[in-house]
Assembly symmetry: D2
Homo-oligomer: 331 residues x 4
């Protein structure tokens, strides 16, 4: 089973959503109260995915709103430097700020985030700032679920999805659920369902699919039974260290394993997974291989300090796959 991408599209992937600042604890393995220094990185799930994809060689664009301040300018400069097209990143004129994420790393298993998401610029992306001209140039529109949490960003995303479908652009929906930005899980479920039904590929953890379904302890079978009644052709459900499953509408099921690694923190795992998985699919690889790319990329990023700057190259990914697969085959 392979996805068809428009071979003439100028961009491999255009992501829509938030580009923010991560402030990562310099002194870690302790509570944040005891961390006195923070290092600044670009962050935010779709920005990380775009940066990761660009570093892997995909031609990538980004639709997102930036604060009119030093953090906003840093983000735009950084993304442009790693090759992301930033022509569709308008500047907010109403004093909204850049979203922040202070990361606390108590131990590799105990990571948490202190978020600043009130009135942030990215949630003020206006649907009038989403251009059909731009979206039609992409093979893939990557939608991040958090961008659906508030108006007018919510409507900007709904418009982008509408335009993508109208122009035969493949819609990838990364669920990226962050509870604190939503009114209620029921509200999340309503918008996640609306977008998932219109998407070609849906990617998330099992917990995130439970949010989409507004239930607990859902089964992958029920999930795919419902979603395959609509647009989705491929559904990827991640189960943490137990690996992930990719379900094709054609009935095939693919199992991907997680590559174990020395974990510094868990942040960035999903974003690095998505960018490498997408890279593989767009380059015509089969789904088994794409799952390995995703897992390898995630394994590399969780061993490093940042989510964006740590994004690996193709060579690093392939090397890790080669090493690990050799180990497995020798067993």
């Amino acid at each position: 089973m392979k996805l068809e991408f428009n071979p003439k599209a100028e961009f491999d992937m255009i992501a829509i959503g938030r580009a923010c600042i991560d402030l990562n604890a310099v002194e870690y393995n302790r509570p944040m109260e005891e961390t006195m220094t923070f290092k600044k990185y670009v962050g935010g799930s779709p920005a990380n995915i775009a940066i990761g994809a660009s570093k892997l060689g995909l031609k990538t664009g980004f639709i997102g709103k930036l604060a009119d301040d030093q953090h906003g300018r840093f983000i735009k400069n950084y993304m442009a430097e790693v090759g992301v097209d930033t022509s569709q990143m308008p500047i907010d004129n109403d004093g909204h700020k850049t979203g922040l994420a202070f990361t606390e790393i108590k131990s590799p298993e105990e990571c948490s985030i202190l978020m600043y998401r009130d009135e942030v610029a990215d949630l003020y992306l206006n649907p009038s700032e989403v251009s059909e001209e731009y979206i039609r140039k992409a093979k893939v529109l990557l939608v991040s679920g958090t961008a659906l949490a508030k108006s007018p960003s919510r409507e900007a995303v709904l418009k982008a999805v509408h335009l993508a479908k109208k122009n035969d652009v493949q819609v990838f929906f990364e669920l990226d659920y962050r509870g604190y930005t939503w009114e209620s899980q029921l509200e999340t479920s309503i918008y996640y369902t609306l977008v998932a039904q219109q998407s070609d590929v849906v990617i998330g953890t099992r917990d995130e699919f439970d949010v989409l379904e507004n239930r607990e302890n859902g089964s992958n079978e029920a999930t795919i039974h419902e979603l395959f009644k609509h647009s989705p052709k491929l559904i990827v459900i991640k189960h943490g260290v137990e690996g992930s499953y990719a379900y094709a509408k054609t009935g095939e099921i693919f199992k991907g394993k997680a590559y174990l690694t020395k974990v510094l923190k868990t942040f960035g795992a999903g974003d690095s997974y998505a960018s490498a998985f997408l890279y593989a699919l767009i380059n015509g690889m089969d789904i088994d291989t794409a799952l390995k790319y995703g897992s390898a990329s995630a394994a590399i990023v969780v061993s490093k300090h940042s989510s964006s700057e740590a994004m690996p190259t193709v060579k690093e990914i392939e090397q890790l796959i080669a090493e690990r697969e050799a180990v497995y085959q020798n067993k």
Copy 2:
């Protein structure tokens, strides 16, 4: 072309949206500044449609939130008295008020409305108050566009549409566009498009379809070309005194004429049209006849003082059709 309704459904129609108060000028044919007395009626497009349908003999229910005050209780009492099931009309506990519409009738051609729609109870209908048990009991879910204007009513309607489709309930979408409740026409367009694509029947004026398409001077041909790619099977576009067109997905086009009448005011025309059109369809009449029912009902309501209390009986509608058709045939 005929629509199929679930013959076992308990309710012919369940409407969702606002039930409000109309305060109609007792002294009219003058500016409202000179009107000193106002008469109170139940109002709001979906409430009027439910009341009209109930008076025509349909088994009707209503999903909508009411203020915890005298106006809210009046609405519930009135709707129950005319036969509407009010079991799904929860009471707001947060101090929100009943929406008001003061009507100004300067002349039959110059009617306007002074609306009180800030923080009104109906827009606080919560998606958790929309029951799948209830919706699955209906042949038709009637959605009023204004209920999409604000959260959480917006999400309540999106959920209701999702549940209707899941349970094979026919979705009728009355566009019912009221500019003052929306952030922008672009926002309206995004949600109208989302719901129209999922509906079975879409009804509105030509102007309202232009809002749906976020354009000016659109053509019926372009409208139906686009919407028939999705769920709609029947699209009714009203052109005022020039009559209306019903387009079937099967390719048939039906033309309905407006019955001229002594007009007191223009309010309530669309709601009475919708209730009688729906009545005819649910009773298995053909679309030509349904269009006549709609026009006759509208002609009766615009000649009277209210929108809800003026809703006609089947006998009155049939009598008016008979009279007018006789006249036409004698010409």
Copy 3:
């Protein structure tokens, strides 16, 4: 004890605050659910006082914001017609509505009000719309407590009081407490205290003074002990049918009795009291007489249907006083 007013001032009194619409039940002595017709009057405490004062012959002005709609225009026309200067009544350009009060008269003892006060125009009076030029022209600035309930009206009133004191204009503070517009009684207490400490005359019911002090069952003695440490020279505390007390800083205490009358409803009693009391003081009458004027005016208004249109003339007040005092003396 007499208050000194600037004899050269152009206006006897300028009131600041809300001018709204009352919708009074035409069919009364029943719950509002059963009232089908409402009659429209100008309402709102400071507007009523200004109208009452103007009808008594005082030269009166008003500072207040009006909605840009038929209700706003009706208010301005009506107030201008009864002689109130409306040059300082700016029109709101942001779509805010006129405040409404539907009155329910179940019986003379059971009256209630259904208020529409969300986002009303009067609370959007901006401090930049309060003119020192205008305020300095008045003998008295009459402040209504409700105008302190929300920003920016709150700041407009604080500025007006500051300007009045700076220009030796006497500040009359009518407490006019309406719980539904305030965040908490503690918040009310803070602003009432701030303004009362700067006022020359404070008028309210015993209950309203309890709100000012954020306590229950306060005593008049404690109230005047505290307030006389600051600017107030005269404090009027009303005890309903038991009459009212006026306390002068000089130590004098005046007792006013309520004139019993055939009561239709209780609305408007305080406003008519304030306008006649103020009329008497400005015309150099002693406090005993002023208390009689207040009581007589209140007795007349509670026997009629409206609060504004029912405001009496001097002749009517004096006639009622004469009749009642004759009765008392004959006893």
Copy 4:
């Protein structure tokens, strides 16, 4: 001229307002876009003053609301460690965040701050959380102007000032104007005037007094002429490197000079000035000496990296005064 403080008061000073986080550029003398690391300190003007005062040996308390997160806990721990009583620092339960200030130091002359002040916990201090029991224990209540910018913090401060006056606690008002938190300069002017009129000592820059008066290029003479009509007994107006003036109601004028120093950044100058000036006054020093203490403390803090941690000891202040005065006398 000397101020009288209650000798039996348990606390020398209680400050009310914000306690926040400063994130100071580790790599400085460059635009913030190029700063990659930030060091965390407690910040916020009244918190800095309280910390400074405590380090000078004053018994100090703080009234302020903290976020329920790692930053909030860090602030409370830090303040308690330097000796500030934190018993009146309630924890916010509604998800509000700690205010942040990212500092940019392009050069000693070009410093700016990127503020996160949307929905911050400190502005949610509720008047119900201000205790009369606590305030009456202080010699001085120090009010920071920024705490007046939004409700309910605004009302909490107004209540605190009311309670201080009622209990003969001296009110020090540090204007601390931050434009971004206010609706308009007119609004600031209204509240600054209200509090300044009730204060015993008012401290600010000439620019801040212009804000209080809602004018440009005001004169010290006009300022003191107006304010001395009310409660203030001492007014300190700072003119940057030209030094500062202290005006006593008794008519005396004191001139303080600025001590020049090697400046790293300008942040924290006002806060360190205020804490040392207050220390001197409370310890019975004359105003000339208090002005020297203020200047010396400011000179020390602007030469260091933080505003709070850099607060000097009495010994450091006295040493700097001694050195500089020796130099001046030798000239």
